[in-house]
C-alpha cells in the first residue's frame, strides 16, 4: 500500500500531507510513492531519526533554514542517473544536472558538519572534480577548455574565423570524445549519486515532518502491543473549529487485539470523528509521521480497513448498503489470511431496517469476537450484543436553543452497559425541530 493510495482516504490524511512544508517536488513524489511500513523495527528506526531532526530544528534553526533553502533546488534526475548507469552518452544538460546534484549534496554535507545531528556522509569529491576541471566550485557546466588542449586550440581558432565549418566539426568531434570520457569516469559513481538523490529527498521529508510535529503539537508514539491514546485530536476538524472561534475537545481512547470495541452515543457526539482520527493516526504512524495526540502507544498492522457510511458506489451501480456489505466482507476475508488487521467500521447496517440491522451488527461482533490478529472498532446506534469493550460519548451537557447553543461533552467513557442512550429526541428538540412532530414521536415511544 503506497501513500498515494490512501491520500484521499476519508480519514482526512490529505490535510496532513498538504500541511507538510516540503521544499522539492521530488520529495513530494517520493513520499507519495512510499510503501506503508509494516515492520516494527523500521517504524522504530524511522522515529528515532525523526526525533533527531526535531532536536535539530529546536537547536539549530538557522542551519535547518539553510538546508531547506538548498533543498528547493533538488530535482528528480533519476532518469539521467539511470542513463549514466546504462552507458548512454549524456548531453551537456545531463552533465549539468549531475554536477548540480553532487554540489548540492556536498553543500548540505558541509552545512551539517559540526551540527548536533549527523547526516549521511557521501564521498562526492571525485564526481565533482570530474565535472569541475577548473576547480571553480560553482554549479554551472559546459565542456570546459580545461578538458583538452585540442579543444582549447580549436575554439581559439574559431574566434578568429567564426564561419569555418571544418573547425566547427572538429570541435563537435572533440566535445563528443570528451563526453564519452566523462561518462566512463562518472559511471562508477552512478549508484552512489542515486543514493544521494534519495537521501536528499528523505531529508526534505524528515525536516517537513519534524516541523509539522513541532507546529501542530503532534507526538511520536511508543511502539507497543496494544493501543492507547491520550488527548487525541483530528487536525483538520480542529482547524475548522478554531477558524470558527470554537475549540476542539481532545479525547482519550484505547483498544487491543482480539477484543472488539464499540462506541455508542448520541448523534452529533463525534463518534465518526473518533474513528476518522484513529484511522488517520494509524496511517500517519505507519508512514512515519508524528501523530495528533498528547501521548500514545500504538501497534503495527499489516492491513488497515476504514469503512465509513455513504460508500455508495454509483459507478458500479451499488447501493450504499451493498457497498458497505462488500467492504465488510473484504475485512472478514482479510482476517482469515492471518495478517494483523485493524478494522474501523462506522455505523454498519445503518441504511437497512433496524431489526435486521441490529442482527447483522451483533452477529458481526460475535464472529469477530476472539480473533487474535484483529483489532476491531465500530460505532453504532443499535442495542447490540457481544459489544466487547464498550465506550459511550458523554453527550449533551447544556440546554439552549438552536444549533449554535448545543453543547456537547465529546469525551468517551467506558461503560459496562451496551444500552444506547436515548438522546435523539432531546437533541432534535434543542435543534428547534417542529414540536408537533417530536411530541408525536414521544407518544410512539410511550406506547
Amino acid at each position: 500500500m503506497t501513500f498515494k493510495e490512501i491520500v484521499y482516504s476519508p480519514c482526512g490524511i490529505r490535510y496532513c500531507f498538504d500541511s507538510l512544508d516540503l521544499q522539492s517536488g521530488y520529495a513530494r513524489q517520493l513520499l507519495l510513492e512510499s510503501e506503508m511500513m509494516t515492520d516494527r523495527a523500521a517504524i522504530q528506526a524511522n522515529y528515532s531519526s525523526l526525533k533527531d531532526y526535531v532536536t535539530l530544528i529546536e537547536r539549530d534553526t538557522t542551519l535547518v533554514q539553510n538546508v531547506q533553502f538548498k533543498l528547493q533546488g533538488l530535482r528528480d534526475i533519476t532518469a539521467t542517473l539511470q542513463s549514466l548507469e546504462d552507458g548512454t552518452l549524456l548531453d551537456d544538460i545531463e552533465f549539468f544536472e549531475i554536477k548540480y546534484l553532487a554540489m548540492l549534496g556536498d553543500d548540505i554535507q558541509r552545512l551539517f558538519s559540526g551540527a548536533s545531528v549527523q547526516w549521511r556522509q557521501f564521498d562526492l569529491d571525485r564526481a565533482i572534480q570530474i565535472l569541475d576541471p577548473e576547480g571553480l566550485r560553482i554549479g554551472t557546466f559546459y565542456i570546459y577548455d580545461a578538458y583538452s588542449m585540442d579543444l582549447r586550440g580549436y575554439r581559439k581558432s574559431l574566434e578568429a574565423d567564426p564561419d569555418n565549418d571544418e573547425l566547427k566539426d572538429m570541435i563537435e568531434k572533440e566535445e563528443s570524445r570528451i563526453k564519452k570520457v566523462l561518462c566512463n569516469l562518472l559511471r562508477p559513481y552512478a549508484d552512489h549519486l542515486k543514493q544521494l538523490l534519495k537521501a536528499l529527498a528523505e531529508l526534505d521529508i524528515f525536516l517537513a515532518k519534524a516541523y509539522q510535529m513541532q507546529k501542530e503539537g503532534y507526538v511520536i508514539p511508543t511502539v507497543g502491543e496494544s493501543a492507547a491514546f491520550k488527548g487525541l485530536f483530528h487536525p483538520q476538524v480542529k482547524a475548522v473549529l478554531e477558524d470558527a472561534g470554537r475549540e476542539f475537545q481532545n479525547v482519550d481512547f484505547s483498544y487491543e487485539m482480539g477484543l472488539p470495541s464499540t462506541v455508542i452515543g448520541a448523534n452529533m457526539g463525534g463518534k465518526t470523528v473518533v474513528l476518522k482520527t484513529l484511522t488517520l493516526c494509524q496511517y500517519l504512524f505507519q508512514f512515519g509521521f508524528a501523530v495528533p495526540a498528547v501521548s500514545c502507544t500504538m501497534m503495527v498492522f499489516d492491513q488497515i480497513y476504514f469503512c465509513i457510511g455513504d460508500e455508495q458506489n454509483q459507478q458500479k451501480g451499488l447501493s450504499s448498503f451493498a457497498a458497505e456489505m462488500l467492504r465488510i466482507d473484504s475485512v472478514l476475508k482479510a482476517v482469515e489470511s492471518g495478517d494483523r488487521i485493524l478494522a474501523l467500521v462506522d455505523e454498519p447496517a445503518r441504511t437497512t431496517n433496524p431489526i435486521e440491522g441490529r442482527a447483522l451488527v451483533s452477529a458481526l461482533l460475535k464472529i469477530l469476537e476472539a480473533r487474535h490478529n484483529l483489532a476491531f472498532i465500530l460505532t453504532t446506534h443499535y442495542n447490540v450484543e457481544n459489544g466487547g469493550k464498550c465506550w459511550r460519548v458523554k453527550g449533551l451537557i447544556e440546554k439552549s436553543k438552536g444549533v449554535e447553543g448545543l453543547k456537547m461533552d465529546y469525551s468517551l467513557l467506558r461503560t459496562e452497559s451496551n444500552q444506547v442512550p436515548h438522546e435523539a429526541l432531546n437533541i432534535a428538540t434543542e435543534l428547534g425541530i417542529n414540536s408537533q412532530w417530536l411530541d408525536e414521536a414521544k407518544r410512539y415511544l410511550e406506547k
Binding site: D91, D92, I93, F96, Y100, T140, F141, Y142, R155, P162
Partner: protein
C-alpha cells in the same frame, strides 16, 4: 540610436511585433548588438516557440537571435542542444514546455541561438524572477507574434513595438492601425475609486452600467461591454477601468466612437512604450516608402519611428 540609452533605464523590456514579419527579430538583434555589455548584465528569452530559422507560416527566412559573449539566455532543451554557440549552463527549470524544460545559460562567445523560452506569461514571470540570483540588470523578452500579452506591464516594464508592411500594405491604414495600439498603450492611469466591477463574460445587466460611472472591468474589455457602456453615455459620464492595455480587445471604430462621445478608458498598470520600429517590406513582395512611412507614423503617434534595417543607425549612444 536614442532608444538604446532609454532601454537601460528599465529592468525588463519586451519587443512586440504587431504581425509576423514586421521585423521584431531584427529589432531584437539590433538592440542586442548595441547594448553596453561591459557594464550591464543582460538576459534574453522569448515566449513560446519563436526564433525559428524559417518562419513556420510564410517560409520566409528569419534571422536567428545573435547572443553576445557574457549574455544570459533562456531557451528550451531542444533548442539548447541545437545551438550554435559556446555557452555555460546555469540552471534547468523544473517547468516543461512542448520543447522540453527551459534552460538558462551564459554565452562564452558570440553565437546564434533559437530562442524558445517559457510558454506562458506566468511561467515567463517565474523565469524572470529566477534570474535575480545571477545579478541580471536587464531582461529582454522576444514577445510572441501578434500576441501582446508579453508586453503586459505585469511582465515587463517597457516595450518596443515593431510594425510594418506585413501588418498592412497601405501607409494610411498601417498608420491608423498602429496608432490605435499606441493609443491603448498610452491610456491614462485610473485616478478615481471604482464604483463597481463587472466582467465581460458573465451576464451583464444594463442597470449596472446605467447607475455607475467608474466601472472596473475584470479580465478582458470586449466590444459587447464597450458597446453597452457607449449606449449609456447619454445619461452621464463613463470611465471603464481595465488592468492594462493588453486586456482590451475592441475594434478601433467602436473605440474611437466611444472616445469621441466623451467616454473614458483608464488602466491600473502601464507599460512604457520606448520606440516603434518599422519594416517596410512584406513577405508578399510589397515594399512601402520607408521615409514616408516613418514620417507619417511618427507624426500620428508623436513618438520616434525607426526603420532599423534600412538606416542601420550606427552612432554610439
Amino acid at each position: 540610436m536614442p532608444f538604446i540609452g532609454e532601454i537601460l533605464n528599465y529592468g525588463s523590456v519586451s519587443i512586440v511585433g504587431l504581425d509576423k514579419n514586421t521585423g521584431k527579430t531584427e529589432c531584437l538583434n539590433y538592440i542586442i548588438k548595441r547594448l553596453p555589455l561591459h557594464s550591464y548584465k543582460v538576459a534574453v528569452t522569448s515566449i513560446g516557440i519563436d526564433g525559428e530559422s524559417l518562419d513556420q507560416v510564410t517560409s520566409t527566412a528569419k534571422p536567428e537571435i545573435v547572443i553576445r559573449e557574457g549574455m544570459f539566455f533562456g531557451t528550451s532543451e531542444k533548442h539548447y542542444m541545437q545551438r550554435n554557440i559556446l555557452s555555460e549552463l546555469y540552471a534547468v527549470s523544473d517547468e516543461s514546455t512542448a520543447l522540453g524544460r527551459v534552460v538558462t545559460a551564459k554565452a562564452l562567445a558570440e553565437g546564434k541561438v533559437l530562442l524558445s523560452g517559457p510558454s506562458s506569461g506566468s511561467a515567463l514571470k517565474r523565469w524572470m524572477s529566477s534570474l535575480t540570483e545571477f545579478g541580471i540588470d536587464l531582461i529582454l523578452v522576444d514577445g510572441a507574434l501578434s500576441r501582446l500579452s508579453t508586453a503586459s506591464p505585469a511582465i515587463s516594464e517597457a516595450m518596443v513595438l515593431s510594425t510594418g508592411a506585413a501588418y498592412s500594405a497601405n501607409i494610411k491604414d498601417l498608420t491608423a492601425k498602429t496608432a490605435f495600439i499606441v493609443d491603448l498603450i498610452g491610456l491614462p492611469y485610473c485616478r478615481r475609486d471604482v464604483d463597481v466591477t463587472v466582467s465581460s463574460f458573465v451576464d451583464l445587466k444594463g442597470a449596472i452600467l446605467k447607475e455607475n460611472s467608474v466601472i472596473g472591468v475584470e479580465g478582458a474589455l470586449t466590444d459587447r461591454l464597450l458597446q453597452m457602456a457607449k449606449n449609456e453615455l447619454s445619461r452621464g459620464e463613463k470611465e471603464l477601468v481595465v488592468n492594462d492595455f493588453t486586456k482590451i480587445f475592441v475594434s478601433p471604430d467602436l473605440y474611437r466612437s466611444y472616445i469621441r462621445r466623451g467616454g473614458k478608458i483608464s488602466v491600473r498598470m502601464k507599460s512604457k512604450l520606448l520606440a516603434v520600429c518599422v519594416n517596410p517590406i512584406a513577405p508578399n513582395g510589397i515594399v512601402l516608402d520607408s521615409d514616408a512611412l516613418c514620417q507619417t507614423l511618427s507624426q500620428e503617434i508623436g513618438l520616434p519611428v525607426y526603420d532599423i534595417v534600412k538606416n542601420n543607425y550606427d552612432h554610439d549612444i
